[in-house]
C-alpha cells in the first residue's frame, strides 16, 4: 500500500493484517505499544526500520495510508522484509477497508494454526481433499515457494547464478594458475618422485592435497569474511543467514572446484620425464 509522508513524498509499505495478532505471536520484537490495541480503531504498528525510508516517527504520530490517516500505536524491531520495504501491521478489517475495491469480500490467504502435536501433512492432505480448488502449503512449503519465486521469477535468481558462476570460473582459473605455477616450480621434485619409483598416483596425491588445502584455506577466509560482513549487512537491514548445510556445501564445492582446477597440473605431471633428474 502507498503511504503519504509529511514531506509530501509517497512511499510503499507491505501490510500484514490479521484478525488477532496476539494469537499468532506475530510480529515479535514489539518495543512499544500493544498489538491487541490494533483491533480498537484506525491504528497501525510500524517497524523501526521504516525510519530509514519514511524519516523519524514516534508512537502517536499519524501517517496517511491510501488516503486515510492512521495512528501509529506501536513499534517493532527486526520485522523486516527481504525487499527492505517497511512493514506495517494493522487489523484485518481495517486493511480491507483501505482498499475496498480490491480487498473487500476477497480472501486470498487463510492462516491455519495447528493444535500442539497435530500432523501438518495429514491436516494439509485433509484440507486438500475437502477444498480441492485451493492450494495448501505448510510453513516450510510456503517458505520454499517464496524463495523459488524470488530466484526463478525475478532477475535476482539470474543475478545470483551469474555471480556464482563467475565466482567459480574466476576461482578455478586463479587456483589452476597458482597450482600450475607451483607444479612448474617443483617439476624437478616431481621428477625425483618418479625416479625413486613413484607413479603418477603418488604425484596426484601431492597435488590433490595441495588443492584441498587451498580449498579449505579459501573456504576459511570466505567464511570469516561472511561473518565479518554480518554487522555491515544488518546496518542496511539485511540479515545474512548462512545455514550449516550451506557452509558444508560451499566447503565441498570449494574442494571439488580446486580439484578440478588441479587437472591441468595433473596432466602436466603425467608427462614428466623422470630422466630430468639427471640434468644439471
Amino acid at each position: 500500500m502507498n503511504v503519504s509522508l509529511p514531506t509530501g513524498a509517497v512511499e510503499g509499505t507491505e501490510v500484514y493484517a490479521l484478525e488477532d495478532f496476539s494469537r499468532w505471536s506475530f510480529p515479535q520484537g514489539v518495543t512499544e505499544g500493544d498489538l491487541g490495541d490494533l483491533r480498537r480503531g484506525p491504528y497501525m504498528v510500524l517497524d523501526d526500520s521504516a525510519k530509514k525510508r519514511w524519516g523519524a516517527f514516534a508512537v502517536n504520530d499519524y501517517r496517511e495510508v491510501l488516503g486515510r490517516r492512521l495512528k501509529i500505536i506501536g513499534r517493532t524491531i527486526d520485522a523486516k522484509s527481504f525487499t527492505t520495504t517497511p512493514l506495517t501491521f494493522m487489523d484485518y478489517r481495517l486493511a480491507q477497508s483501505l482498499n475496498e475495491s480490491e480487498l473487500r469480500g476477497n480472501t486470498t490467504y487463510i492462516l491455519i494454526k495447528l493444535a500442539p502435536g497435530a500432523n501438518a501433512d495429514a491436516v494439509g492432505a485433509e484440507i486438500r481433499r475437502r477444498l480441492p480448488y485451493n492450494d495448501v502449503y505448510t510453513k516450510a512449503d510456503w517458505a520454499k515457494r517464496s524463495r523459488n519465486y524470488w530466484i526463478d521469477s525475478t532477475g535476482l535468481g539470474l543475478n545470483m547464478y551469474i555471480t556464482v558462476f563467475l565466482g567459480c570460473l574466476v576461482g578455478i582459473v586463479v587456483v589452476a594458475q597458482t597450482l600450475y605455477t607451483s607444479t612448474m616450480e617443483h617439476i624437478r621434485e616431481f621428477g625425483t618422485v618418479k625416479a625413486i619409483g613413484g607413479g603418477n598416483r603418488d604425484i596426484y596425491a601431492i597435488l590433490g592435497k595441495q588443492a584441498t588445502i587451498a580449498a579449505i584455506a579459501g573456504f576459511a577466509l570466505g567464511a570469516l569474511q561472511a561473518f565479518a560482513l554480518r554487522p555491515v549487512m544488518s546496518k542496511i537491514d539485511l540479515k545474512l543467514i548462512i545455514p550449516n548445510e550451506l557452509y558444508l556445501a560451499v566447503l565441498l564445492g570449494s574442494i571439488a572446484l580446486c580439484l578440478t582446477a588441479a587437472m591441468i597440473s595433473f596432466r602436466k605431471v603425467a608427462s614428466i620425464d623422470p630422466a630430468l633428474v639427471f640434468r644439471t
Binding site: R188, E189, G191, T192, V193, K194, A195, I196, G197, G198, G199, D202, P274, A275, V277, F278, T280
Partner: protein, 219 residues
C-alpha cells in the same frame, strides 16, 4: 651373483629428421656387492646408460635384466621401486621435508609406511652419520650432508642396486672423499651393487672395477 645385466643395449634419439645413436650395443653386468665406476668424457653416453640401468629410459634395442627380470615399459616404475636406489649430482632432496622425512617419503613411495618406515629411515639416517641432524631441512645442511641424506634415501628400503650420478661433483674434495668412503662401507656391508657414473678420479679408489664408455660403447 649377477644382479644387473645389459645385452647389446642400443639407444638412439631423434632430433628433427635426424636419428642420433647414443649407445651402440653395450654388454654390461654387475655382481651383487660389486662397486663399478663408470667413466667417460662428456657426451659419451654415460648418463643415458645410467638412465637405462635405472629403468628411467628403455633401450631402443637390446635387453636389460634386473634381478632376473627383463625390463619392459610396463614394469619400469615397479623395478625402480623394488630394486633401485638413486643418488643424484644435485642431491634432489625435497626442500620442505626434513632429512629423515626425505628418507621416509622415499620409503612411502616404495610401499613401506607408518612405524616400519620411520624405523628404517632412522636406521639409515644414523648409518650415514646424520642422527643428530635428522630433523634439519636440506637448506640447513652442508653439501656433504645433503649427499649423505641422498645416500640414506637410496639405501632405505633394501634396494639391491644403487646408482649414483656424479655424487661428488658438487662437493669439495674432503666432503667427496668422506661421502665415497661411507658409500663404499654401507654398500659393502649390505651387499648392494653400486654403479657410479663419474668424472672424479677419486671414485676409482673405492671401485672394484672401472668401466669406460666412449662414443656410446664400452672400451
Amino acid at each position: 651373483m649377477t644382479i644387473l645385466t645389459t645385452r647389446h643395449v642400443e639407444k638412439t634419439f631423434t632430433e628433427g629428421r635426424e636419428t642420433v645413436p647414443v649407445l651402440r650395443g653395450i654388454d654390461f653386468s654387475v655382481e651383487r656387492g660389486e662397486i663399478v665406476s663408470l667413466e667417460g668424457p662428456s657426451g659419451s653416453g654415460k648418463t643415458t646408460f645410467l638412465s637405462i640401468l635405472g629403468c628411467i629410459l628403455t633401450p631402443t634395442r637390446g635387453e636389460v635384466v634386473i634381478e632376473g627380470e627383463a625390463v619392459a615399459e610396463r614394469n619400469l616404475a615397479e623395478i625402480r621401486r623394488r630394486s633401485l636406489g638413486f643418488v643424484f649430482q644435485q642431491f634432489n632432496l625435497f626442500p620442505s621435508l626434513s632429512a629423515i622425512e626425505n628418507v621416509e617419503y622415499a620409503l612411502n613411495v616404495k610401499g613401506v609406511r607408518g612405524r616400519e618406515a620411520r624405523v628404517e629411515a632412522q636406521r639409515v639416517i644414523e648409518a650415514v652419520g646424520l642422527g643428530d641432524r635428522q630433523n634439519f631441512l636440506p637448506r640447513d645442511l652442508s653439501g656433504g650432508q645433503k649427499q649423505r641424506v641422498a645416500i640414506a634415501r637410496a639405501l632405505a628400503g633394501k634396494a639391491p642396486i644403487l646408482l649414483a650420478d656424479e655424487p661428488t661433483a658438487n662437493l669439495d674434495s674432503a666432503a667427496g672423499t668422506q661421502v665415497l668412503e661411507m658409500f663404499r662401507t654401507l654398500a659393502k656391508q649390505e651387499n648392494r651393487a653400486l654403479v657410479i657414473v663419474t668424472h672424479d678420479p677419486k671414485v676409482r679408489t673405492i671401485a672394484d672395477r672401472v668401466a669406460k664408455i666412449q662414443d656410446g660403447a664400452l672400451v
